[in-house]
């Protein structure tokens, strides 16, 4: 997915064209300390990173803090990215989601999440996002694929991934055995994988 550069077309002229404009290629440049390549990476992944962190944490202030940490982590660890272990987008999103989840699982944050979320204006910025056609299409695709799951699969995936709960917590919330949650999560994600046409 490619999010268009952040609303300042004049700016893009400043960037020398990277030899390889794929996210993987850009990360290779970032690994060598190329700050302009990092700006391009930021423009492509900042919205998904902030989005998933916010989805898990809810609290905008905490989400911004974590999103900033994630982006710095990408800068710091770019040399550790390896295509053998998956795509650059996978790598970035795994870092982002894991950071958010780790924050949730520290107790202090957990109480902040429940208490503050109630006070937060629940208005989302979906209208702005709607302008980004690619994101819209991706959302639609994911929504349709989620509908192909059984209810238990969908609930498990939703609570675990978007909710940031451990599979044990998911089991507790859904009142099902741990073994069942494990298999539902796996089966659900496998069905999503096939529906979304993720490269095998």
């Amino acid at each position: 997915m490619r999010v268009p550069p952040g609303g300042d077309p004049a700016r893009s002229g400043e960037f020398a064209l990277a030899a390889d404009e794929s996210l993987e290629g850009l990360l290779g440049q970032v690994a060598k300390g190329d700050q302009r390549a990092f700006e391009l990476v930021f423009e492509r992944v900042a919205a998904p990173v902030y989005g998933i962190v916010r989805r898990v944490l809810r609290d905008p202030a905490q989400s911004e803090e974590i999103a900033q940490e994630v982006m710095l982590e990408i800068w710091r660890q770019a040399a550790r990215f390896s295509v053998e272990r998956g795509s650059a987008l996978s790598w970035v999103m795994t870092i982002a989601h894991r950071r958010a989840v780790d924050r949730v699982r520290t107790e202090a944050a957990a109480s902040a999440r429940s208490a503050r979320a109630l006070w937060q204006d629940n208005r989302t910025e979906y209208d702005q996002v709607a302008e980004q056609v690619e994101v819209r299409l991706e959302q639609e695709r994911v929504r349709r694929c989620l509908e192909t799951l059984t209810e238990l699969q969908r609930e498990s995936v939703d609570l675990a991934y978007y909710g940031g709960y451990t599979y044990r917590e998911v089991g507790e919330l859904l009142g099902v055995a741990l073994g069942t949650v494990k298999t539902r999560l796996r089966d659900g994600l496998i069905r999503m994988r096939d529906c979304l046409g993720v490269a095998r």
């Binding site: 900033q68 800068w75 089966d187 659900g188």
Partner: protein, 253 residues
Amino acid sequence: MNADIHTLTGAYAANALPADERVDFERHLRMCEACGNEVRELQATTALLGVAAALPPPPGLRERVLAEIGRVRQLGPELRPVPRDQAYQSGPPSRFAHWTRRAVAVGIAALVLAVAGLGVVTYQQRQDLRQANAEVASAQAVEELLTAPDATFSRATSGDVSGTVVSSKQRDEAVFISSGLPAVPADKTYQLWVIGPSGPTSAGLLALGDSGSTTPAVASDTAQAQSLAVTMEPAGGSPQPTGDILVQVELPA
């Protein structure tokens, strides 16, 4: 492949494992190729779930991040496991080295006893191992390997040269010691190879002690490997073996 732990691929890809189980699963992942492939696919899937949640980042985030990267040092690339003994050779013993001297003494003693227990160790080898004891190379790794619950001993000889390996599938590591290798010319070196499903991978250079034994060398990624082998290579080592195999120790299947 353990069927039960395999079902955790989904929970892992969704980051839904508690910290302790995540660590266990990642250990398993290093040994289970099928799990690795599935995890990659499922992580690509959850990545799309994440992308679908995209929101415009708050104004100012970009500027703050870009200002901050000037103050954050980047990590270097992950290197293939290189000989820990080389690292030690290049400088004076570190404080860590002093610290672990005792640990390696215990470890080598255990290795001597265990090998002796198998009835395959000679007096000379015991001397060699004592010699090796003076070296602090890979002290901690050796110690950990020797105490691994599934540590297994393997040995092979080729003429005067013998190689002994203690390997652990759980730890995905093996420690290699040899004796009987002749001194090498200054422009040559001995190099250890892990012979795995996709061919030989360097496990680093071997340092030769006075008595013809090599200091213990720790090799990684050995769980799937068939054997460890030693060749003579130009000083500094080769990316792929160019010399004849001088001794080769089969690893347990």
